[in-house]
């Protein structure tokens, strides 16, 4: 399956045309084809291939399908934005997107620390280049530089942690690591050391406090189409490697990493939400909100094993998974809206650019409002149920104070989400020009908004899908 995806990717590389439409269509066809292959080959069992380097299971398949969907939506949104900007309208944008997608696939179905690492590198290398794609913009170059240096540092930390774990257990295969840890054939000191580095590396990639410094700059500096990509799809892959490495591999050491993640999670909810209030740039604000959302997602990971009791694990991890899927859906919609309002020579990334959107286009204002409500966790939008299920898991695990803190920080967060709604509905518009956007983008945007609303009314389907897939995979 992955070999096929790889093959299509490389074929696509050579069919690079002057006309970007062909590349665009080909890319979409590739994604659809890969999704169909994934779906057709999905057996629901846990399969190991490539000498146990690759694992195919239900969770991986679900995440992959969602990932393909997300990347497709992202490409649809960014198409006209990229088209309007000649410096970005190159085939490389699509090719790099595909490579990044391949990297995420590798991460999702990795059963070996080496494969995890290579997947991460494949993803980040493509992302560095995509951030810097707009070479003439100083902000983009600066963002790419920061991302590159910090990302390299994080990869170093991750590798160091992996080598420590190898030193401790004598294997790099995730399931074998778990087995040896379970049998107690591991050096505990080195293991703890490795776990510290591993968690730091993952935290870097997830962008949680105190490893969050790159997120606002990269989100701000990168072209919005790339920001949309960074903000959505990789979060799914990051969730997958957290599950693979920490839960599948190091569940015995869960005491160690849970307490670390606890600190990271509370800190990032605090810093993310409070820092977002002060932002006037929408992209920067969403970057801080991404930090706080990732902190919230980690809450579910913390509560999996309580005092050696794994009864709540399934519930907790599936709530985390549901949360991250919801977040990806919503953030794709929000950044898509920024892209929708952007024209050539105008970025529409300040919050004030949204002033009076209701007067200009009531429907898109309503869609944006749904996104914001969902992010803030207002009831009957999907974000509410995501937050609710995570909190439920937290309370079930007995961390009452943690749940209270999370709710408090969410309330702080609601302020700046609602501020955007206020700006859209009650501020006088700065321009009265009509919104011009291609039809496919309008339809997709509306579908995205409706999905947020509908999943809010019927969250059970997706939730049970998450729970079921995790049940079959763990």
């Amino acid at each position: 399956m992955l070999a096929m995806a790889c093959l299509i990717l490389i074929v696509d590389l050579f069919v690079k045309d002057r006309k970007r439409t062909i590349t665009f269509v080909l890319t979409q066809v590739t994604l659809v084809g890969a999704a169909i292959i994934t779906f057709a080959l999905s057996t629901g069992q846990i399969l190991y291939t490539f000498s146990n380097m690759y694992v195919g299971d239900m969770m991986g398949d679900l995440l992959k399908l969602l990932l393909y969907l997300t990347v497709m939506v992202v490409l649809f949104y960014s198409r006209s934005y990229v088209f309007d900007r000649p410096e970005m309208a190159k085939g490389e944008f699509y090719t790099l997107t595909l490579f990044a997608t391949l990297g995420m696939m590798v991460m999702i179905s990795a059963n070996h620390f080496l494969t995890v690492y290579i997947g991460i590198e494949l993803l980040s290398l493509s992302l560095y280049a995509m951030v810097a794609l707009n070479r003439d913009s100083i902000a983009a170059t600066e963002a790419a530089m920061k991302y590159f240096v910090l990302g390299a540092l994080a990869s170093g930390l991750l590798l160091y942690g992996m080598s420590m774990i190898y030193g401790s257990t004598g294997t790099l295969e995730i399931s074998a690591v778990a087995e040896r840890l379970f049998n107690g054939q591991a050096n505990k000191t080195i293991l703890a050391f490795g776990v510290v580095f591993l968690v730091s590396g993952i935290a870097f990639k997830l962008g949680v406090v105190p490893f969050h410094m790159w997120i606002p700059d990269v989100y701000h500096g990168a072209p919005t189409a790339v920001t949309l990509f960074i903000a959505s799809a990789p979060k799914l892959a990051a969730f997958a490697i957290v599950i693979r490495m920490l839960v599948n591999g190091l569940i015995v050491a869960s005491q160690d990493w849970q307490s670390m993640l606890l600190i990271l999670s509370v800190l990032s909810m605090a810093v993310g939400n409070f820092a977002a209030i002060a932002q006037t740039n929408l992209k920067r604000m969403l970057a801080y909100s991404a930090i706080s959302h990732m902190g919230f997602m980690l809450l579910g990971m913390i509560t999996g094993v309580v005092g050696g009791d794994a009864r709540y694990a399934l519930n907790a991890y599936s709530s985390s998974m549901f949360y991250v899927i919801t977040y990806v859906l919503t953030s794709a919609g929000t950044f898509g809206m920024i892209l929708l309002l952007a024209r050539s020579g105008f970025e529409s990334e300040e919050i004030s650019d949204f002033a009076g959107l209701n007067k200009r286009s009531p429907w898109f204002a309503a869609v944006m409002m749904m996104m914001m409500f969902s992010m803030a966790g207002v009831p009957f939008f999907v974000g509410f149920f995501a937050k609710f299920s995570v909190l439920q898991a937290v309370v079930a695990a007995g961390y009452l104070w943690l749940a209270i803190a999370a709710v408090f920080f969410s309330l702080v967060g609601a302020y700046y989400y609602l501020r955007i709604v206020k700006v859209m509905y009650f501020d006088p518009p700065i321009s009265t020009s009509r919104i011009v956007a291609p039809l496919d983008m309008k339809i997709l945007m509306s579908a995205n908004g409706l999905a947020v609303a509908l999943l809010g009314i019927f969250p059970q389907t997706l939730m049970s899908l998450c729970a079921f897939s995790l049940l079959r995979s763990l």
Binding site: C6, S51, M53, E92, L96, F99, G119, L122, A129, L133
Partner: protein, 200 residues
């Protein structure tokens, strides 16, 4: 002390010294040369571990290719060291405290015989055992998946480099001879008719 242990400590000492010098030296060319020394000693340690192929690859690839390139770049770039050094002394106290703390913590955690690295004996390879064969066999059987993926990573690197640096055709001032021969007098010389004016 066995001779092998002596060689190991000797090489390691050089390695540690060279690595330290790489980060502390003022002159970037000297730092790069020390890095070469560090790689060389590391390959020596590898030979002690009976991994000749890796040792030779290290020398060939890093010392032979990468470091030479690196030296070229360093020599060509005229880096102003004093500018980089600005503020060094003001950051030094805090930086050294942090570094010392980290070293202290690490040695506390790892101190003593926890790591028990020296107790493990490395089995002797039988005569005629081929390193290259072993590496190759592993690379193409067990590790074929990451190996292929690594090649994709390299491909991404190439694509990214091209995407970031290629700026279309350069507008150079060269002339095309085939067009040049068709030039006519009228294209080059313009005769203007002007009425003569009287001097004041």
């Amino acid at each position: 002390m066995e001779f092998k242990t002596f060689v190991f400590y000797f090489l390691s000492a050089i390695l540690v010294y060279a690595s330290l010098r790489v980060v502390t030296l003022r002159n970037p060319v000297h730092a790069a040369l020390h890095l070469v020394l560090a790689f060389f000693s590391a390959s020596g340690v590898w030979i002690l571990l009976q991994a000749e192929f890796l040792a030779i690859a290290l020398v060939l690839v890093y010392v032979g290719a990468v470091m030479v390139l690196f030296l070229f770049v360093v020599m060509m770039l005229d880096i102003n060291i004093d500018r980089l050094r600005e503020g060094f002394w003001s950051y030094l106290p805090l930086g050294s405290i942090v570094a010392l703390l980290m070293v202290a913590e690490m040695s506390l955690v790892l101190g003593g015989s926890y790591f028990d690295l020296f107790e493990k004996d490395i089995s002797q390879a039988p005569a005629g055992y081929s390193n290259v064969q072993a590496v190759g066999r592993l690379l193409f059987t067990e590790y074929v998946y990451p190996f292929e993926l690594a090649s994709v990573v390299l491909l991404v690197g190439v694509v990214a480099a091209v995407a970031l640096t290629l700026r279309g055709k350069r507008k150079s001032k060269s002339v095309s001879p085939s067009q040049q021969v068709f030039v006519k007098v009228e294209d080059r010389v313009r005769v203007l008719k002007m009425t003569a004016e009287k001097r004041d």
